[in-house]
């Protein structure tokens, strides 16, 4: 993981030996993991330097040895969320040999990712994090580009589909996926429909495939 690192070490003699040992056991990934866990459990509003440090048994300043600011840390958390989503999409599609079945399985896996990581998922699509401002590759753009590519592949395999815009189709697919994921996370879709979540995913997935 590439992150902005701030001043690396406290001046010699400031930290006690025990403190130094404890700090050195923690790396940037640990802060990201804790921040992600708090975001997942309680929402992004609970992710503060003080809170992360408290969970890790460190001072709040420890965080700033690895990250220039909280925005830097949140940008990494946001980006890691998209990196995970992209990995899920790729692995799922490949496991089905790509094509239509790969796409169908990917749509299901996308919704499942949101349901299993609701706090992180909501943060990914409501926050204004800018990983590129901290020298990171933007995995959010990569994940959405992957979805566009999958839609384009499926459309190429459908006769008579050329008249519609593949780009807009991908946008509509994402709207449906995001709407479904959001409502499924809240549990309301299952309550008002009487369907279990897998049935709802399958019916919506089929509707998406019918439309493109």
């Amino acid at each position: 993981m590439s992150v902005h690192t701030g001043p690396h070490e406290a001046p010699a003699g400031v930290a006690t030996l025990n403190e130094h040992r404890r700090r050195s056991r923690h790396c940037a990934e640990d802060f990201v993991t804790h921040a992600t866990c708090i975001c997942e459990r309680e929402g992004v509003g609970a992710v503060t330097a003080r809170r992360i440090a408290k969970e890790m048994g460190l001072s709040a300043m420890a965080l700033y040895r690895h990250f220039s600011s909280m925005e830097n840390l949140l940008a990494v958390v946001w980006n890691e969320g998209f990196a995970q989503l992209l990995a899920v999409m790729n692995v799922t599609s490949e496991s089905q040999g790509g094509g239509l079945e790969g796409f169908r399985a990917t749509l299901r896996a996308y919704v499942r990712f949101g349901i299993e990581n609701p706090g992180l998922y909501q943060f990914m699509f409501t926050a204004g994090a800018r990983p590129e401002d901290f020298g990171l590759e933007n995995y959010g753009l990569d994940a959405m580009q992957r979805l566009r590519e999958m839609v384009a592949v499926v459309r190429r395999s459908e006769e008579g589909a050329a008249e519609r815009s593949s780009e807009m189709d991908a946008v509509f697919v994402w709207f449906l996926l995001h709407g479904l994921t959001t409502v499924a996370i809240s549990g309301q879709a299952q309550k008002v429909s009487g369907l279990d979540v897998d049935e709802l995913i399958d019916r919506t997935t089929q509707r998406i495939l019918d439309a493109i």
Binding site: V44, T126, G140, F175, L176, G179, T182, K191, L200, T204
Partner: protein, 188 residues
């Protein structure tokens, strides 16, 4: 709701509410069993207001198709005018069981499903539609497009202008409902 509208759902903590109302955090618990109870009450009230707003406009329409257009636009416009409240509406972190809230949300969905059913009955919409599936599809398109339009990183998904996205998505939603013209390649 005033606090939520100004600062977002993340601001809804006992401490912030106490600051806002100039009372102690304990005063809150004289009226509500827990923060979850307060959030449920606010969420139910927000649902009632949104339902009232979009449906009172849609019910003035002369046809199911027009009612659907008004409903769709009103919902998305609500999100654009009140982005924080919209986020709260679709992502409220409720933990317990809240029958009143469930009823209010089910009511909104039932009315959408009934509108589509009426359109089918009157011949305005395709006869082979499943109103429940189509109501979900419309709801998902509304939530998805509204989320994108208020997202600070909307370029992840689309770079079009807000009004272009709204009208294109509305057309897409209607395309799934309206009878296809004779000679449409999808039918042949």
């Amino acid at each position: 709701m005033t606090l939520c509208e100004r600062e977002g759902p993340e601001a809804l903590t006992a401490r912030r509410l106490a600051q806002e109302t100039r009372r102690s955090p304990m005063a809150l618990y004289r009226h509500f069993e827990s923060m979850d109870g307060l959030i449920a009450a606010a969420w139910g009230e927000l649902h009632r207001r949104v339902n009232h707003r979009v449906w009172s406009a849609a019910e003035q329409a002369e046809s199911p198709t027009e009612a659907f257009r008004i409903l769709f636009r009103e919902f998305v416009h609500f999100a654009l005018r009140h982005p924080h409240l919209f986020r709260f509406l679709i992502t409220a972190p409720l933990r317990g069981h809240h029958p009143d809230v469930d009823r209010e949300q089910a009511e909104g969905f039932r009315r959408l499903r009934d509108l589509i059913q009426r359109g089918v009955r009157l011949g305005a919409f395709r006869p082979d539609l499943d109103p429940r599936d189509e109501a979900f599809r419309a709801l998902f398109l509304m939530i998805g497009s509204a989320t994108l339009m208020i997202s600070p990183r909307r370029e992840l998904v689309a770079r079009c202008r807000t009004d272009v996205i709204l009208e294109a998505t509305l057309q897409e939603a209607l395309a799934g409902l309206l009878p296809r013209p004779v000679g449409d390649p999808v039918l042949s």
